[in-house]
Amino acid sequence: MNHKLLRPLHSIPYFGWLLLFVIAPILLIVYYSFFDLSGNFTLGNYVNFFTSTYFKLTLSSFWYAFLITFFSLLISYPTAYFLTKTKHKQLWLLLIIIPSWINLLLKTYAFIGLLGLYGPINAFLELTGLEKQQLLFTNFSFVFVSVYIFIPFMILPIFNALDKLNPALIDAARDLGATQWTTFTKVIFPLTMNGVKSGIQVVFIPALSLFMITRLIAGNKVITLGTAIEQQFLVTQNWGMGSTIAVFLILFMFIIMLLTSQKEGAKRNEKN
């Protein structure tokens, strides 16, 4: 096969794509972030970002993204683990993945009905003798719905990592007298760390910029960087400020990618 010879030719469309749809837009965003409302060059947008409002916004975005990622991981890891133990694991995996094919907004609207005062969840609470709860428009419901939405994305990489795990290693650990807990903490979890890391990446980064759910489920009681960008572009028409927030968002994402992938490399070296 002459795959090697063809490789440079193959890669032209990819580089073209990257240049047009990844690099050029990012450069444009950086460019716009240096202009004020009347189109003059300014660093004011960056100064403005460090005022209390946007700083608080960034902190709260990170906090909620952390919560969402944490709970997604907490639920997804055991789920993925038990999935690998089931008989028809591909079928079960498919059933878990299917909801992610449904439009995000549709699912969100469904939750408005489910969480409502007269919705099924409250009806169930009443049945069990508990009082009706205001579930919609709370921080809790925001994290809950976001976790629900992100779970498939967290399960998939972890499932793959667990599935590839050589069962002989686990048997060996048992033979050598490790307890179940030790086997998990010393063998299984470290060896599936890569799956966990890519899971964290695909959840944490989009969670930083969630925006429709903040309004529909949290009633704007939770504000994320995504909400702020949307508002700057669509309402205030301050493209400069919107771009500045976007630049910081890209920066944060880049840092997270760097943090999660570097350690991955270090692990690999360790093994070698």
């Binding site: 409002t53 916004l57 205001q134 309004r215 205030t236």
Partner: protein
């Protein structure tokens, strides 16, 4: 590898077929009519039956698109990708669009029905002599509430919203001008205030409202009020009318300190391709009988004086939706404050939401 290729080929073939079908459908849809008219309006803001009648009457095919915010609408008109012939912006947006030279003047030779419009709604500051716009609907901003879910609270004054008994009950509009404007009104300031100190005071006062706020959302509020999920909402008169049509417990009031009086207007943007059709459409919508039917369908108040004769007496005598002139004079129309101040309003609003 083979399977992937086969799958890809299958998807390509299916999409190709659908594409051809789509083209065929569009062709057959437009056959027989020579011209078309693209109307860009707010969602749920016209009786669809009237569009069909207009098509039958004039032979012009109407392409109807909707938007959900003035700003989003202007963005699309500015880009000029679609040849919109009729757009329905609010009054402050007309000022902005005039500044950007996005509107075409109306030729009144082609719009004889303008005589039916109540002179009260003509020649307003945002468009002197109605050079570019004609009023389509008007209304107010006020409080919709459901007395059966409340313990006798009433809302003659904006200040009633701050009552501690309303903890976690109020739904606000996710829009800076409306929410900060309400707070400005409650302090007896103008809702077009350009004074930073007044805006600061209004924001601080708004922050104290936070314990009473259940949510800050958009159109979803209509359903929440109908389902009795929410009991108090800051909302526009027509939206309140929608709620009241579905749930008769709901009432609507404009607090006495004053509030916003708004107009949505028919304009012809610079992107227009069918000028004659656009004028014909405006004239058609201003026909008293048509305007009456449209108003009954949409639920907002019509500025068409003659149309009132065709409408239900109980509707037009309802002071909540057709307030008398004295009350109206008490209300304020939004002025375009410029992007700089709009930014300040939104920054303060964000600060309130973050609290």
């Amino acid at each position: 590898m083979k399977e992937i290729l086969r799958g890809a080929a299958l998807i390509l073939i299916i999409s190709g077929l659908l594409f051809v079908v789509n083209i065929q459908l569009n062709k057959s849809g437009s056959s027989g009519t020579k011209t078309s008219l693209t109307v860009y309006n707010w969602g749920e803001y016209i009786d669809p039956q009237l569009l069909k009648e207009f098509e039958q009457e004039t032979g012009i095919k109407v392409i109807y698109e909707t938007f959900d915010s003035n700003e989003g609408m202007m963005g699309k008109v500015e880009q000029g990708g679609t040849a919109y012939d009729i757009v329905v912006p609010s009054e402050y947006m007309i000022e902005m669009m005039k500044e950007k030279d996005l509107l075409l003047p109306i030729d009144y030779q082609q719009v004889p029905n303008v005589k039916h419009i109540d002179p009260y709604f003509l020649n307003l500051p945002f468009d002197p002599n109605n050079e570019f716009s004609l009023p389509y609907f008007w209304g107010t901003l006020g409080i919709a509430f459901n007395p059966t879910l409340l313990e006798g609270q009433t809302f003659e004054s904006w200040d009633r919203l701050w009552d501690p008994s309303l903890a976690q009950k109020i739904v606000l509009v996710d829009s800076a001008r409306e929410t900060i404007g309400m707070s400005l009104n409650s302090l007896d300031y103008s809702l077009n205030s350009t004074d930073i100190q007044q805006l600061r005071a209004a924001t601080e006062k708004l922050k104290q409202l936070k314990p009473n706020v259940k949510a800050i959302i958009g159109d979803e509020v209509t359903q929440l009020m109908i389902n009795q999920e929410a009991s108090v909402a800051l909302t526009w008169s027509g939206q309140a009318a929608d709620m009241m049509a579905e749930n008769e417990n709901i009432d609507y009031i404009v607090p006495e300190e004053g509030s916003n009086l708004w107009f949505d207007n028919l304009v012809i943007p610079r992107t227009a391709a069918n000028l004659e059709g656009a004028h014909a459409f405006i004239n058609f919508m201003l026909d008293p009988e048509i305007a009456a039917r449209n108003a009954e369908y949409v639920g907002y108040s019509t500025p068409n004086l003659t149309a009132l004769d065709y409408m239900d007496e109980t509707v037009i005598s309802d002071e909540r939706f057709y307030p008398d002139e004295e009350t109206r004079d008490h209300l304020e129309v939004y002025r375009n404050l410029g992007l700089e101040l709009l930014g300040v309003y939104n920054e303060y609003f964000l600060e309130f939401k973050m609290k």
